[in-house]
Symmetry: C2
Subunit: 228 residues, 2 copies
Amino acid sequence: MTGPARRGSRPWRTPTEAQILDAALALLDAGGLAGASIRRIAAAIGAPPGAVYTYFPDREAVAAAVVERVLGEVERATPSARDQPGRDTIEAIAVALRERLVAHPGVVPLLVNGPVNGPNALLLRERLLGLLNDAGVAGESGARGAYVVIVYIVGSVALEAAEPPPVGPLPPEEERIAGRRDTLAAIPADTYPRTAAAADVIATWIGTEQYMWGLRRVLNGLLNPALQ
Amino acid sequence: MTGPARRGSRPWRTPTEAQILDAALALLDAGGLAGASIRRIAAAIGAPPGAVYTYFPDREAVAAAVVERVLGEVERATPSARDQPGRDTIEAIAVALRERLVAHPGVVPLLVNGPVNGPNALLLRERLLGLLNDAGVAGESGARGAYVVIVYIVGSVALEAAEPPPVGPLPPEEERIAGRRDTLAAIPADTYPRTAAAADVIATWIGTEQYMWGLRRVLNGLLNPALQ
DNA sequence: ACCTGAACACCGTTCAAGT
DNA sequence: ACCTGAACACCGTTCAAGT
């Protein structure tokens, strides 16, 4: 933090830093992790590869900044909303996180390839801790419950983004579910009878309905006093 | 499937295939994803880089085979155990999966970088579907519930393995928790008051106790008839 | 028929040499 | 003081040339 304080809503110190992150995100969206090389990012902004190292120490730092940018979008998409119950706001954050990350599936592997420690990540964690408290779960249970919610969100999005195609934007949800249904239809029912019987539901595992279904059960398990 | 049928308990057709996977897993353990290059794998078995392509079409196929090998260890570590309730066996599988994956943290990113579709993965899914059924949750709820369990396991392990150091074996759990406690102690309490207040619990998020705590709540939410 | 080893088109990162 | 562009040490993958 040697530069001047950040001003207004622009989160990056220099135009070039923002240009690099714009280019990195666009390349991640278009070509996945492999497409977002330092050399291609540099080429996209018309600079030699080495120029990137004026602003970021290494590739990992660029990745971390891209994650931070996307988490910032989630932060801004879910205003504090102090008037609704904590549980509803937790669900709103979970929905916004999935929505933003599925919109940028190339970013998802970055969540898992290294620690997520930026200010926006810390802010989301802080908010979740408060919301669990608002929902009636305080102290150690609140802190443990917040992590279960994080695990559910990250795990869901990671498995969803790991589906083919690994590059380019994800097709619409119905299309991906239809593709899974086709794949599942080829599974031998004699070897995997339960899978075959449940194929139509398994096809929808990566969809919004399953996400909300699971989120509600997870929150039930966390927030119901009878189950503590 | 053009080769001869697989014989006995050896899951790989040729010694060289097994050699490649041994070398890949050892390199993943030692140096993470970046350390397990095709060229290094080939060097480890004393072959030119191109030799790997006699057995695997590309790097992704090697990665998928390594994942399959680790999932096979889980399969063998959790015999069917038809005499205990479904819930207990689900917990046993969840424990075994985490144990095997944390032992090979370099394998974890592979779970998320592409689809996991091998026979051992399908077998684990099949077993989970049956166990949810045994635990009293059938039909659509059983199929949805199985995925929530998978999401919880994969999400937990992914976040745990994403902690530094990204290469080499993970230090003992207590050591990693102590490291997290030190990091968390540096977080400004005025900006993140709830994080600071809960720091000692947050430090343990990556530990066995949190994993079991969350697993039980998740299963409570899934298996309790009153919450369906 | 099979495998090798060289080659191709890339990487991330560094750093002397220029301005 | 800053940036460039070339260089270094790597990649994954292909394939002609050998045996």
